[in-house]
Symmetry: C2
């Protein structure tokens, strides 16, 4: 039996700290180790990253220089995403690039910080750096925030249920 | 018999138009169609891109969204480079990303413009956009300019000799 999910942080906080960045904060009701696993284990990523849609993990090499490529099968079509890891420091920091097939060669650098809150919850702070303000604003206008909240809601559900071999305290 | 190479533009002009860009100008003694082919035909790219060193073209898909990956075998080691095409408009404009395996996830957007000068020569203007000034300056301090001039000298030699099925006027 899993404990009930706290709904205290059901939407992400999205801000624009500079003219080429997006900053996203979201609290998850799980330890940092569990959240890290959900972001880096292909079997777990497949269950939440694609907004609840079918997600094929074609490649996910979680190491400096490793590549990743996911294909999301959504009602509005098939969307490919890919990038490469710049820095992998478990369980606190992950830096990678992000590119959508629909806008090839438009590359975002995403820095994710995983902060243990001390009460069994974890705050994930993601900062996305774009080459231009236009690309940053295009991302904000693309429905990104809604998609993000759908994915994070799927992650909430996963974190509440997934088998943790180390057990929970 | 090939005509003698004019040595009027033997080094590239490198400038910093903004705090995140590098601009490179270089004139080649060949028509725009020939220069375009030298930049996009794998058999030709292999002969000049790697500063005269052995270059393995693992992938070169010259189309929007296509990927490229080259591996240079130089006296100081093996270096991988890769990226993706954002825009391919023959024979005048090529936009692609560039990333060196030694600094994975540090992605440059390179826009190359091919200008016909009207006298059988072609000017190539490349503008590289970095995510940060630090990355731009790191590239400038890496010996980029020397490597670039070595590659372009190899390209001069190739352009003077390579078989052009369309013939030369």
């Amino acid at each position: 039996m899993s404990k009930p999910v706290k709904e205290s942080a059901a939407t992400a906080t999205v801000t624009k700290p500079t003219d080429r960045e997006i900053r996203i904060e979201r609290i998850f009701d799980a330890t940092r180790d569990r959240v890290w696993r959900a972001f880096t284990d292909p079997a777990l990523v497949a269950q939440w990253w694609g907004r609840g849609n079918k997600l094929v993990i074609e490649r996910l090499e979680v190491k400096r220089g490793g590549h990743w490529r996911f294909v999301e099968h959504s009602p509005d079509g098939v969307h490919g995403f890919e990038g490469r890891f710049r820095e992998v420091t478990p369980p606190g920091r992950l830096v990678q690039t992000f590119e959508w097939d629909g806008m090839p060669g438009h590359v975002v650098v995403e820095t994710a910080i995983f902060e243990e809150l001390g009460d069994g919850r974890t705050k994930v702070i993601t900062t996305s750096l774009f080459h231009t303000t236009e690309e940053r604003d295009g991302m904000l206008e693309s429905g990104m925030e809604q998609g993000l909240n759908q994915s994070y809601a799927a992650l909430d559900r996963l974190l509440a249920t997934f088998d943790d071999k180390k057990g929970r305290t």
